[in-house]
Protein backbone atom coordinates (compact mmCIF):
# COMPACT_ATOMS: atom_id res chain seq x y z
CA UNK A 1 0.00 0.00 0.00
CA UNK A 2 1.21 3.50 -0.80
CA UNK A 3 2.08 5.64 2.17
CA UNK A 4 0.68 8.88 0.84
CA UNK A 5 -1.81 9.23 -1.97
CA UNK A 6 -2.92 12.66 -3.14
CA UNK A 7 -5.50 12.76 -5.91
CA UNK A 8 -6.55 15.84 -7.83
CA UNK A 9 -5.79 18.22 -4.98
CA UNK A 10 -6.60 21.87 -5.61
CA UNK A 11 -6.43 24.94 -3.41
CA UNK A 12 -7.91 28.28 -4.26
CA UNK A 13 -7.47 31.49 -2.28
CA UNK A 14 -10.24 33.69 -3.67
CA UNK A 15 -9.52 33.92 -7.37
CA UNK A 16 -5.91 32.73 -7.01
CA UNK A 17 -5.43 29.07 -7.84
CA UNK A 18 -2.41 28.11 -5.73
CA UNK A 19 -2.61 24.36 -6.38
CA UNK A 20 -4.35 22.98 -9.43
CA UNK A 21 -5.20 19.29 -9.74
CA UNK A 22 -2.02 17.86 -8.23
CA UNK A 23 -1.73 14.10 -7.76
CA UNK A 24 1.15 12.30 -6.13
CA UNK A 25 1.86 8.90 -4.68
CA UNK A 26 4.67 8.15 -2.26
CA UNK A 27 5.76 4.59 -1.51
CA UNK A 28 7.23 3.55 1.84
CA UNK A 29 10.98 4.10 1.97
CA UNK A 30 10.99 6.65 -0.82
CA UNK A 31 12.76 10.00 -0.78
CA UNK A 32 10.74 12.39 -2.87
CA UNK A 33 11.86 15.89 -3.75
CA UNK A 34 9.49 18.62 -4.85
CA UNK A 35 11.08 21.40 -6.84
CA UNK A 36 9.84 24.34 -8.83
CA UNK A 37 10.27 28.07 -9.27
CA UNK A 38 9.26 30.45 -6.50
CA UNK A 39 5.50 30.72 -6.16
CA UNK A 40 4.94 27.32 -7.76
CA UNK A 41 2.82 26.20 -4.80
CA UNK A 42 5.29 23.84 -3.14
CA UNK A 43 4.75 25.06 0.40
CA UNK A 44 1.00 25.34 -0.19
CA UNK A 45 1.06 21.69 -1.21
CA UNK A 46 2.89 20.82 2.04
CA UNK A 47 0.32 22.79 3.98
CA UNK A 48 -2.50 20.81 2.36
CA UNK A 49 -0.88 17.50 3.14
CA UNK A 50 0.04 18.44 6.71
CA UNK A 51 -3.40 19.90 7.42
CA UNK A 52 -2.70 23.59 7.90
CA UNK A 53 -5.68 24.16 5.65
CA UNK A 54 -8.16 22.03 3.73
CA UNK A 55 -8.02 21.48 -0.02
CA UNK A 56 -10.71 23.10 -2.17
CA UNK A 57 -11.00 19.82 -4.10
CA UNK A 58 -9.36 16.43 -4.22
CA UNK A 59 -8.48 13.77 -1.68
CA UNK A 60 -5.52 12.99 0.54
CA UNK A 61 -5.01 9.49 1.89
CA UNK A 62 -2.36 8.43 4.37
CA UNK A 63 -1.79 4.70 4.76
CA UNK A 64 -5.03 4.16 2.88
CA UNK A 65 -7.14 6.34 5.18
CA UNK A 66 -8.76 9.60 4.18
CA UNK A 67 -7.16 12.25 6.38
CA UNK A 68 -9.03 15.27 5.01
CA UNK A 69 -11.21 15.73 8.11
CA UNK A 70 -8.23 15.55 10.50
CA UNK A 71 -6.54 18.61 12.00
CA UNK A 72 -2.78 19.03 11.84
CA UNK A 73 -2.16 17.66 15.33
CA UNK A 74 -4.19 14.54 14.57
CA UNK A 75 -2.23 13.98 11.37
CA UNK A 76 0.98 14.24 13.39
CA UNK A 77 -0.34 11.61 15.79
CA UNK A 78 -1.08 9.35 12.80
CA UNK A 79 2.58 9.47 11.77
CA UNK A 80 3.29 12.58 9.68
CA UNK A 81 5.64 15.22 10.87
CA UNK A 82 7.09 18.27 9.21
CA UNK A 83 9.50 21.16 9.50
CA UNK A 84 8.97 24.67 8.22
CA UNK A 85 10.70 26.87 5.68
CA UNK A 86 11.26 29.46 8.39
CA UNK A 87 12.61 27.42 11.27
CA UNK A 88 10.12 26.94 14.09
CA UNK A 89 11.56 26.04 17.49
CA UNK A 90 10.72 27.01 21.08
CA UNK A 91 13.24 29.86 21.36
CA UNK A 92 13.27 30.36 25.15
CA UNK A 93 13.60 26.66 25.94
CA UNK A 94 16.91 24.85 25.99
CA UNK A 95 17.75 22.66 23.00
CA UNK A 96 17.29 19.57 25.17
CA UNK A 97 13.86 20.78 26.35
CA UNK A 98 12.78 21.46 22.77
CA UNK A 99 13.44 17.84 21.96
CA UNK A 100 12.13 16.65 25.33
CA UNK A 101 8.70 18.17 24.61
CA UNK A 102 8.56 16.23 21.35
CA UNK A 103 9.71 12.99 22.96
CA UNK A 104 7.14 13.32 25.75
CA UNK A 105 4.35 13.90 23.26
CA UNK A 106 5.51 10.91 21.22
CA UNK A 107 5.57 8.76 24.37
CA UNK A 108 1.96 9.66 25.15
CA UNK A 109 2.95 11.65 28.25
CA UNK A 110 1.58 15.04 27.15
CA UNK A 111 -1.04 15.25 29.92
CA UNK A 112 1.01 13.66 32.69
CA UNK A 113 1.38 15.87 35.75
CA UNK A 114 4.47 13.88 36.79
CA UNK A 115 6.68 11.09 35.51
CA UNK A 116 8.06 8.10 37.35
CA UNK A 117 11.81 7.49 37.46
CA UNK A 118 11.65 4.86 34.74
CA UNK A 119 9.67 7.03 32.34
CA UNK A 120 11.97 9.98 33.02
CA UNK A 121 15.03 7.85 32.29
CA UNK A 122 13.61 6.55 29.02
CA UNK A 123 12.71 10.11 27.92
CA UNK A 124 16.21 11.33 28.84
CA UNK A 125 17.83 8.47 26.91
CA UNK A 126 15.80 9.23 23.79
CA UNK A 127 16.56 12.96 24.09
CA UNK A 128 20.29 12.20 24.36
CA UNK A 129 20.12 9.89 21.36
CA UNK A 130 18.45 12.56 19.21
CA UNK A 131 20.80 15.30 20.42
CA UNK A 132 23.78 13.27 19.33
CA UNK A 133 22.17 12.26 16.02
CA UNK A 134 21.61 15.96 15.27
CA UNK A 135 25.14 16.90 16.33
CA UNK A 136 23.72 19.01 19.17
CA UNK A 137 25.01 17.12 22.20
CA UNK A 138 27.43 19.85 23.27
CA UNK A 139 24.76 22.57 22.84
CA UNK A 140 21.96 20.82 24.72
CA UNK A 141 21.71 23.44 27.49
CA UNK A 142 21.78 26.45 25.15
CA UNK A 143 18.64 28.46 24.47
CA UNK A 144 17.29 27.19 21.14
CA UNK A 145 16.79 30.79 20.00
CA UNK A 146 20.53 31.43 20.42
CA UNK A 147 21.59 28.57 18.11
CA UNK A 148 22.98 29.20 14.64
CA UNK A 149 20.53 28.85 11.78
CA UNK A 150 21.91 25.45 10.80
CA UNK A 151 21.72 24.13 14.34
CA UNK A 152 18.15 25.40 14.77
CA UNK A 153 17.26 23.50 11.62
CA UNK A 154 18.93 20.37 12.97
CA UNK A 155 17.03 20.79 16.25
CA UNK A 156 13.77 21.15 14.36
CA UNK A 157 14.45 18.00 12.35
CA UNK A 158 15.27 16.15 15.58
CA UNK A 159 11.97 17.30 17.10
CA UNK A 160 10.14 15.93 14.08
CA UNK A 161 12.10 12.69 14.29
CA UNK A 162 11.28 12.36 17.98
CA UNK A 163 7.70 11.71 16.89
CA UNK A 164 8.88 8.56 15.06
CA UNK A 165 7.08 9.62 11.89
CA UNK A 166 6.32 7.28 9.03
CA UNK A 167 6.48 10.29 6.70
CA UNK A 168 8.89 13.14 7.35
CA UNK A 169 8.20 16.35 5.44
CA UNK A 170 11.01 18.89 5.18
CA UNK A 171 10.28 22.33 3.75
CA UNK A 172 13.54 23.68 2.31
CA UNK A 173 15.84 22.16 4.92
CA UNK A 174 18.93 23.95 3.57
CA UNK A 175 17.36 27.37 2.94
CA UNK A 176 19.62 30.24 3.93
CA UNK A 177 22.57 28.02 4.81
CA UNK A 178 26.25 28.15 3.92
CA UNK A 179 28.02 25.32 2.08
CA UNK A 180 29.20 23.50 5.20
CA UNK A 181 25.79 23.65 6.89
CA UNK A 182 24.09 22.54 3.68
CA UNK A 183 26.45 19.60 3.44
CA UNK A 184 25.82 18.63 7.07
CA UNK A 185 22.05 18.72 6.70
CA UNK A 186 22.16 16.81 3.41
CA UNK A 187 24.31 14.15 5.05
CA UNK A 188 21.86 13.92 7.94
CA UNK A 189 18.91 13.51 5.56
CA UNK A 190 20.73 10.85 3.57
CA UNK A 191 21.50 8.99 6.75
CA UNK A 192 17.87 9.10 7.92
CA UNK A 193 16.75 7.81 4.55
CA UNK A 194 19.37 5.15 3.86
CA UNK A 195 20.16 3.91 7.31
CA UNK A 196 16.88 4.37 9.17
CA UNK A 197 14.72 3.68 6.12
CA UNK A 198 12.61 6.78 6.73
CA UNK A 199 10.19 7.95 4.04
CA UNK A 200 10.91 11.58 3.30
CA UNK A 201 9.25 14.24 1.19
CA UNK A 202 11.24 17.43 0.83
CA UNK A 203 11.02 20.77 -0.89
CA UNK A 204 14.43 22.03 -1.92
CA UNK A 205 16.00 24.74 -4.02
CA UNK A 206 19.58 23.51 -3.91
CA UNK A 207 19.83 21.25 -6.99
CA UNK A 208 23.00 19.56 -5.77
CA UNK A 209 21.07 18.39 -2.72
CA UNK A 210 18.03 17.35 -4.74
CA UNK A 211 19.91 15.32 -7.36
CA UNK A 212 22.11 13.74 -4.72
CA UNK A 213 19.33 12.60 -2.46
CA UNK A 214 16.06 12.08 -4.27
CA UNK A 215 14.70 8.80 -5.58
CA UNK A 216 12.02 10.64 -7.51
CA UNK A 217 11.34 14.28 -8.23
CA UNK A 218 8.10 16.15 -8.79
CA UNK A 219 8.31 19.53 -10.50
CA UNK A 220 5.60 22.08 -9.77
CA UNK A 221 5.06 25.25 -11.76
CA UNK A 222 2.18 27.67 -11.29
CA UNK A 223 0.39 25.18 -9.09
CA UNK A 224 0.47 22.31 -11.60
CA UNK A 225 2.60 19.22 -11.97
CA UNK A 226 5.03 20.02 -14.74
CA UNK A 227 6.95 16.77 -14.66
CA UNK A 228 7.54 13.76 -12.47
CA UNK A 229 10.16 11.06 -12.59
CA UNK A 230 13.61 9.80 -11.68
CA UNK A 231 16.31 12.48 -11.28
CA UNK A 232 17.86 11.75 -14.68
CA UNK A 233 14.53 12.08 -16.51
CA UNK A 234 13.90 15.41 -14.80
CA UNK A 235 17.39 16.69 -15.61
CA UNK A 236 16.84 15.80 -19.29
CA UNK A 237 13.33 17.21 -19.53
CA UNK A 238 13.04 20.17 -21.88
CA UNK A 239 9.84 21.32 -20.20
CA UNK A 240 11.63 21.59 -16.86
CA UNK A 241 14.61 23.39 -18.35
CA UNK A 242 12.26 25.82 -20.05
CA UNK A 243 10.43 26.55 -16.79
CA UNK A 244 13.66 27.26 -14.96
CA UNK A 245 15.33 29.14 -17.82
CA UNK A 246 12.14 31.07 -18.48
CA UNK A 247 12.11 32.04 -14.84
CA UNK A 248 15.73 33.11 -14.98
CA UNK A 249 15.17 35.13 -18.17
CA UNK A 250 12.15 36.96 -16.76
Amino acid sequence: MSLLQVEGASKRFGSLVAIDDVSLTIEPGELRAIIGPNGAGKTTFFNLVSGLFAPTAGSIRFEGRDIAPLGPDERVRRGMSRTFQITEVFPELSVADNIRVAVEVASGYRLRPWLGAQARASVAARVAELLSLGGLADKSEMRAGALSHGDQRAAEIMMSLALRPRLLMLDEPTAGMGDQETYDIARLIRRLHRREGLTIMLIEHDMRVVFNLADRIMVLAEGRVLAEGAPQEIADSEKVQAAYLGKAAA
Partner: protein
Protein backbone atom coordinates in the same frame (compact mmCIF):
# COMPACT_ATOMS: atom_id res chain seq x y z
CA UNK B 1 18.76 31.89 36.33
CA UNK B 2 21.19 29.21 37.39
CA UNK B 3 19.66 26.32 39.35
CA UNK B 4 21.64 27.34 42.45
CA UNK B 5 20.31 30.89 42.34
CA UNK B 6 16.80 29.62 41.71
CA UNK B 7 17.02 27.38 44.79
CA UNK B 8 18.35 30.32 46.83
CA UNK B 9 15.40 32.45 45.68
CA UNK B 10 12.94 29.66 46.58
CA UNK B 11 14.46 29.43 50.06
CA UNK B 12 14.43 33.21 50.56
CA UNK B 13 10.77 33.48 49.55
CA UNK B 14 9.80 30.58 51.82
CA UNK B 15 11.62 32.07 54.81
CA UNK B 16 10.14 35.53 54.26
CA UNK B 17 6.62 34.09 54.02
CA UNK B 18 7.09 31.83 57.02
CA UNK B 19 7.96 34.75 59.30
CA UNK B 20 6.02 37.54 57.64
CA UNK B 21 3.61 38.26 60.55
CA UNK B 22 6.69 38.86 62.75
CA UNK B 23 8.76 41.13 60.51
CA UNK B 24 5.72 42.88 59.06
CA UNK B 25 5.18 44.81 62.33
CA UNK B 26 8.77 46.01 62.35
CA UNK B 27 8.36 47.75 58.99
CA UNK B 28 5.03 49.35 59.87
CA UNK B 29 2.68 46.66 58.62
CA UNK B 30 0.22 44.39 60.41
CA UNK B 31 -0.81 40.75 60.22
CA UNK B 32 -3.90 41.31 58.08
CA UNK B 33 -1.75 43.07 55.49
CA UNK B 34 0.55 40.05 55.41
CA UNK B 35 -2.45 37.79 54.84
CA UNK B 36 -3.69 40.02 52.05
CA UNK B 37 -0.29 39.79 50.34
CA UNK B 38 -0.36 36.00 50.52
CA UNK B 39 -3.92 35.84 49.18
CA UNK B 40 -3.41 38.31 46.34
CA UNK B 41 -0.04 36.69 45.63
CA UNK B 42 -1.81 33.36 45.16
CA UNK B 43 -4.32 35.03 42.83
CA UNK B 44 -1.60 36.67 40.73
CA UNK B 45 0.45 33.46 40.55
CA UNK B 46 -2.66 31.55 39.49
CA UNK B 47 -3.35 34.07 36.73
CA UNK B 48 0.27 33.78 35.71
CA UNK B 49 -0.05 30.02 35.26
CA UNK B 50 -2.11 30.98 32.20
CA UNK B 51 -0.47 34.30 31.31
CA UNK B 52 3.21 33.64 31.89
CA UNK B 53 3.44 29.91 31.32
CA UNK B 54 0.82 29.28 28.65
CA UNK B 55 1.03 32.69 26.96
CA UNK B 56 -2.70 33.39 27.12
CA UNK B 57 -3.96 36.73 28.50
CA UNK B 58 -7.18 36.73 30.51
CA UNK B 59 -8.77 39.97 31.65
CA UNK B 60 -11.59 38.13 33.36
CA UNK B 61 -10.01 36.25 36.22
CA UNK B 62 -11.86 38.38 38.77
CA UNK B 63 -14.99 36.44 37.82
CA UNK B 64 -13.52 33.21 39.23
CA UNK B 65 -11.92 35.02 42.16
CA UNK B 66 -15.34 36.48 42.93
CA UNK B 67 -17.19 33.21 42.41
CA UNK B 68 -14.82 31.62 44.91
CA UNK B 69 -15.46 34.50 47.31
CA UNK B 70 -19.25 34.46 46.97
CA UNK B 71 -19.34 30.67 46.97
CA UNK B 72 -17.44 30.53 50.26
CA UNK B 73 -19.40 33.41 51.80
CA UNK B 74 -22.78 31.97 50.85
CA UNK B 75 -21.84 28.48 52.00
CA UNK B 76 -21.11 29.94 55.44
CA UNK B 77 -24.04 32.34 55.53
CA UNK B 78 -26.77 30.08 54.14
CA UNK B 79 -25.48 26.58 54.82
CA UNK B 80 -23.52 27.19 58.00
CA UNK B 81 -20.46 25.57 56.43
CA UNK B 82 -17.11 25.34 58.17
CA UNK B 83 -14.16 27.27 56.78
CA UNK B 84 -12.60 24.48 54.73
CA UNK B 85 -15.87 23.12 53.24
CA UNK B 86 -16.80 26.73 52.41
CA UNK B 87 -13.59 27.21 50.45
CA UNK B 88 -14.19 23.89 48.72
CA UNK B 89 -17.71 24.96 47.76
CA UNK B 90 -16.51 28.24 46.28
CA UNK B 91 -13.77 26.49 44.33
CA UNK B 92 -16.13 23.87 42.89
CA UNK B 93 -18.62 26.53 41.74
CA UNK B 94 -15.90 28.67 40.15
CA UNK B 95 -14.18 25.73 38.50
CA UNK B 96 -17.40 24.46 36.93
CA UNK B 97 -18.03 27.97 35.59
CA UNK B 98 -14.47 28.09 34.22
CA UNK B 99 -14.91 24.71 32.52
CA UNK B 100 -18.06 25.84 30.73
CA UNK B 101 -16.89 29.34 29.81
CA UNK B 102 -13.46 28.06 28.86
CA UNK B 103 -15.00 25.58 26.44
CA UNK B 104 -16.95 28.41 24.78
CA UNK B 105 -14.04 30.79 24.27
CA UNK B 106 -10.99 28.60 23.79
CA UNK B 107 -10.94 28.91 20.01
CA UNK B 108 -10.24 32.62 20.32
CA UNK B 109 -6.71 33.94 20.56
CA UNK B 110 -4.87 37.02 21.69
CA UNK B 111 -6.85 40.18 22.21
CA UNK B 112 -10.15 38.51 21.20
CA UNK B 113 -9.73 35.99 24.00
CA UNK B 114 -8.94 38.78 26.46
CA UNK B 115 -12.02 40.78 25.39
CA UNK B 116 -14.38 37.84 25.74
CA UNK B 117 -12.99 36.99 29.18
CA UNK B 118 -13.89 40.54 30.27
CA UNK B 119 -17.40 40.18 28.85
CA UNK B 120 -18.07 36.90 30.66
CA UNK B 121 -16.54 38.31 33.82
CA UNK B 122 -18.93 41.25 33.80
CA UNK B 123 -21.91 38.89 33.56
CA UNK B 124 -21.10 37.59 37.04
CA UNK B 125 -20.48 41.10 38.30
CA UNK B 126 -23.96 42.22 37.27
CA UNK B 127 -25.60 39.13 38.72
CA UNK B 128 -23.93 39.83 42.09
CA UNK B 129 -24.77 43.52 41.78
CA UNK B 130 -28.47 43.06 40.96
CA UNK B 131 -29.57 39.96 42.82
CA UNK B 132 -30.06 41.74 46.13
CA UNK B 133 -32.00 39.02 47.89
CA UNK B 134 -29.22 36.46 47.61
CA UNK B 135 -25.97 38.33 47.10
CA UNK B 136 -26.70 41.48 49.08
CA UNK B 137 -26.36 43.48 45.88
CA UNK B 138 -24.15 46.54 45.91
CA UNK B 139 -23.83 46.43 49.71
CA UNK B 140 -22.11 43.08 49.51
CA UNK B 141 -22.59 39.80 51.29
CA UNK B 142 -22.32 40.40 55.01
CA UNK B 143 -23.72 39.07 58.25
CA UNK B 144 -21.44 36.04 58.44
CA UNK B 145 -17.93 35.29 59.56
CA UNK B 146 -15.39 32.51 59.19
CA UNK B 147 -15.52 29.77 61.80
CA UNK B 148 -12.71 28.27 63.86
CA UNK B 149 -11.49 24.93 62.56
CA UNK B 150 -12.01 21.89 64.72
CA UNK B 151 -9.62 19.05 63.97
CA UNK B 152 -11.12 16.85 66.68
CA UNK B 153 -7.88 16.66 68.62
CA UNK B 154 -7.22 20.38 68.38
CA UNK B 155 -8.97 23.61 67.57
CA UNK B 156 -7.49 26.34 65.39
CA UNK B 157 -9.15 29.64 66.10
CA UNK B 158 -8.67 31.35 62.78
CA UNK B 159 -11.53 33.74 63.58
CA UNK B 160 -10.21 35.48 66.68
CA UNK B 161 -6.51 34.96 66.12
CA UNK B 162 -5.26 36.80 63.05
CA UNK B 163 -1.87 35.05 63.08
CA UNK B 164 -3.64 31.69 63.06
CA UNK B 165 -5.58 32.79 60.00
CA UNK B 166 -2.35 33.95 58.35
CA UNK B 167 -0.83 30.50 58.76
CA UNK B 168 -4.05 28.84 57.64
CA UNK B 169 -3.93 30.97 54.45
CA UNK B 170 -0.21 30.32 54.03
CA UNK B 171 -0.76 26.55 54.28
CA UNK B 172 -3.37 26.68 51.53
CA UNK B 173 -1.10 28.96 49.51
CA UNK B 174 1.72 26.43 49.88
CA UNK B 175 -0.45 23.53 48.67
CA UNK B 176 -1.64 25.50 45.62
CA UNK B 177 1.74 26.95 44.70
CA UNK B 178 3.42 23.57 45.24
CA UNK B 179 0.87 21.97 42.92
CA UNK B 180 1.53 24.63 40.26
CA UNK B 181 5.30 24.13 40.56
CA UNK B 182 4.93 20.36 40.12
CA UNK B 183 2.65 20.85 37.11
CA UNK B 184 5.00 23.32 35.43
CA UNK B 185 7.89 20.87 35.73
CA UNK B 186 5.87 18.00 34.28
CA UNK B 187 5.35 16.96 30.66
CA UNK B 188 1.99 18.75 30.79
CA UNK B 189 3.64 21.95 32.02
CA UNK B 190 6.29 21.73 29.33
CA UNK B 191 3.54 21.37 26.72
CA UNK B 192 2.02 24.64 27.98
CA UNK B 193 5.36 26.46 27.81
CA UNK B 194 5.82 25.02 24.33
CA UNK B 195 2.45 26.47 23.31
CA UNK B 196 3.50 29.85 24.72
CA UNK B 197 6.78 29.71 22.84
CA UNK B 198 5.48 28.68 19.43
CA UNK B 199 1.90 27.59 18.98
CA UNK B 200 2.37 26.40 15.41
CA UNK B 201 5.38 24.26 16.26
CA UNK B 202 3.50 22.83 19.24
CA UNK B 203 0.52 21.92 17.06
CA UNK B 204 2.82 20.24 14.56
CA UNK B 205 4.31 18.15 17.33
CA UNK B 206 0.84 16.68 17.69
CA UNK B 207 -0.39 18.71 20.65
CA UNK B 208 -4.13 19.46 20.62
CA UNK B 209 -3.63 23.12 21.46
CA UNK B 210 -7.23 23.98 22.35
CA UNK B 211 -7.53 21.19 24.89
CA UNK B 212 -4.24 22.05 26.59
CA UNK B 213 -5.08 25.78 26.75
CA UNK B 214 -8.53 24.93 28.11
CA UNK B 215 -7.03 22.76 30.83
CA UNK B 216 -4.54 25.49 31.71
CA UNK B 217 -7.38 28.03 31.89
CA UNK B 218 -9.41 25.77 34.19
CA UNK B 219 -6.42 25.07 36.46
CA UNK B 220 -5.61 28.78 36.59
CA UNK B 221 -9.23 29.65 37.47
CA UNK B 222 -9.37 26.90 40.08
CA UNK B 223 -6.41 28.35 41.97
CA UNK B 224 -7.59 31.94 41.58
CA UNK B 225 -10.92 30.89 43.11
CA UNK B 226 -9.07 29.47 46.12
CA UNK B 227 -7.57 32.93 46.55
CA UNK B 228 -11.02 34.50 46.18
CA UNK B 229 -12.49 32.21 48.83
CA UNK B 230 -9.62 33.02 51.20
CA UNK B 231 -10.14 36.72 50.53
CA UNK B 232 -13.79 36.50 51.55
CA UNK B 233 -12.83 34.63 54.69
CA UNK B 234 -10.15 37.19 55.46
CA UNK B 235 -12.66 40.07 55.29
CA UNK B 236 -15.68 38.14 56.59
CA UNK B 237 -17.37 39.90 53.72
CA UNK B 238 -17.45 40.10 49.96
CA UNK B 239 -18.96 42.54 47.49
CA UNK B 240 -19.35 42.82 43.71
CA UNK B 241 -15.96 44.52 43.36
CA UNK B 242 -14.39 41.08 43.95
CA UNK B 243 -15.87 40.15 40.56
CA UNK B 244 -15.29 43.33 38.62
CA UNK B 245 -12.90 43.70 35.70
CA UNK B 246 -10.66 46.24 37.45
CA UNK B 247 -9.61 43.48 39.82
CA UNK B 248 -8.79 41.34 36.76
CA UNK B 249 -6.66 44.21 35.51
CA UNK B 250 -4.94 44.54 38.88
CA UNK B 251 -4.02 40.85 38.82
CA UNK B 252 -2.43 41.34 35.40
CA UNK B 253 -0.56 44.39 36.72
CA UNK B 254 0.76 42.37 39.68
CA UNK B 255 2.01 39.60 37.38
CA UNK B 256 3.70 41.99 34.96
CA UNK B 257 5.11 44.15 37.76
CA UNK B 258 6.81 41.23 39.47
CA UNK B 259 7.79 39.41 36.29
CA UNK B 260 5.48 37.05 34.49
CA UNK B 261 8.25 34.79 33.22
CA UNK B 262 9.46 33.96 36.68
CA UNK B 263 7.61 31.65 39.05
CA UNK B 264 7.69 33.97 42.09
CA UNK B 265 7.41 37.21 40.13
CA UNK B 266 3.64 37.68 40.53
CA UNK B 267 3.94 37.18 44.30
CA UNK B 268 6.51 39.98 44.46
CA UNK B 269 4.28 42.09 42.23
CA UNK B 270 1.30 41.42 44.50
CA UNK B 271 3.35 42.34 47.59
CA UNK B 272 4.40 45.66 46.03
CA UNK B 273 0.86 46.36 44.84
CA UNK B 274 -0.89 45.51 48.11
CA UNK B 275 1.68 47.28 50.29
CA UNK B 276 1.61 50.42 48.14
CA UNK B 277 -2.17 50.38 48.10
CA UNK B 278 -2.28 50.09 51.88
CA UNK B 279 0.31 52.78 52.51
CA UNK B 280 -0.64 55.32 49.85
CA UNK B 281 -4.40 55.02 50.34
CA UNK B 282 -3.97 56.16 53.95
CA UNK B 283 -2.58 59.43 52.58
CA UNK B 284 -4.57 60.04 49.42
CA UNK B 285 -7.59 58.68 47.62
CA UNK B 286 -5.62 58.64 44.38
CA UNK B 287 -3.47 55.66 45.32
CA UNK B 288 -4.01 54.15 41.90
CA UNK B 289 -2.02 56.95 40.27
CA UNK B 290 1.02 56.06 42.40
CA UNK B 291 0.66 52.39 41.45
CA UNK B 292 0.29 53.46 37.83
CA UNK B 293 3.51 55.46 38.02
CA UNK B 294 5.42 52.56 39.59
CA UNK B 295 4.02 50.25 36.95
CA UNK B 296 5.12 52.52 34.10
CA UNK B 297 8.62 52.86 35.58
CA UNK B 298 9.03 49.12 36.08
CA UNK B 299 7.79 48.30 32.58
CA UNK B 300 10.07 50.98 31.14
CA UNK B 301 13.25 49.99 32.99
CA UNK B 302 12.64 46.30 33.77
CA UNK B 303 10.47 44.97 30.97
CA UNK B 304 10.69 41.50 32.49
CA UNK B 305 9.46 42.76 35.85
CA UNK B 306 11.19 43.14 39.18
CA UNK B 307 12.23 39.48 39.37
CA UNK B 308 12.99 39.37 35.67
CA UNK B 309 16.15 41.34 36.39
CA UNK B 310 17.64 38.23 37.92
CA UNK B 311 16.78 36.01 35.04
CA UNK B 312 19.35 34.79 32.54
CA UNK B 313 19.99 31.56 30.68
CA UNK B 314 17.64 28.97 29.31
CA UNK B 315 15.50 28.35 32.38
CA UNK B 316 11.93 29.27 31.52
Amino acid sequence: MSPARARALDAAVCLLLLFMPFWMGAIGGYTELATRIVVMGLAAMSLNFLLGFTGVLSFGHAAYFGLGAYGAGMAIKYLGAGSIPAIGFGVVVATIAAMIIGALIIKLRGVYFAMVTIAFGQVFYFIAFRWNAVTGGDDGLSGWHRLPIDFGFARLDIFQNDKAFYYFALAIFAVCVGAMAVLLNSPFGRSLIAIRENERRARFLGLPIEFHVWLSFVISCLFVSVAGALYALLNNFTDPRALRFDLSGNLVIMAVLGGMRSFWGPLIGAAIFVALQDYVSSHTENWMSVIGLVFVLVVRFFPRGVLGMLRTGAKA
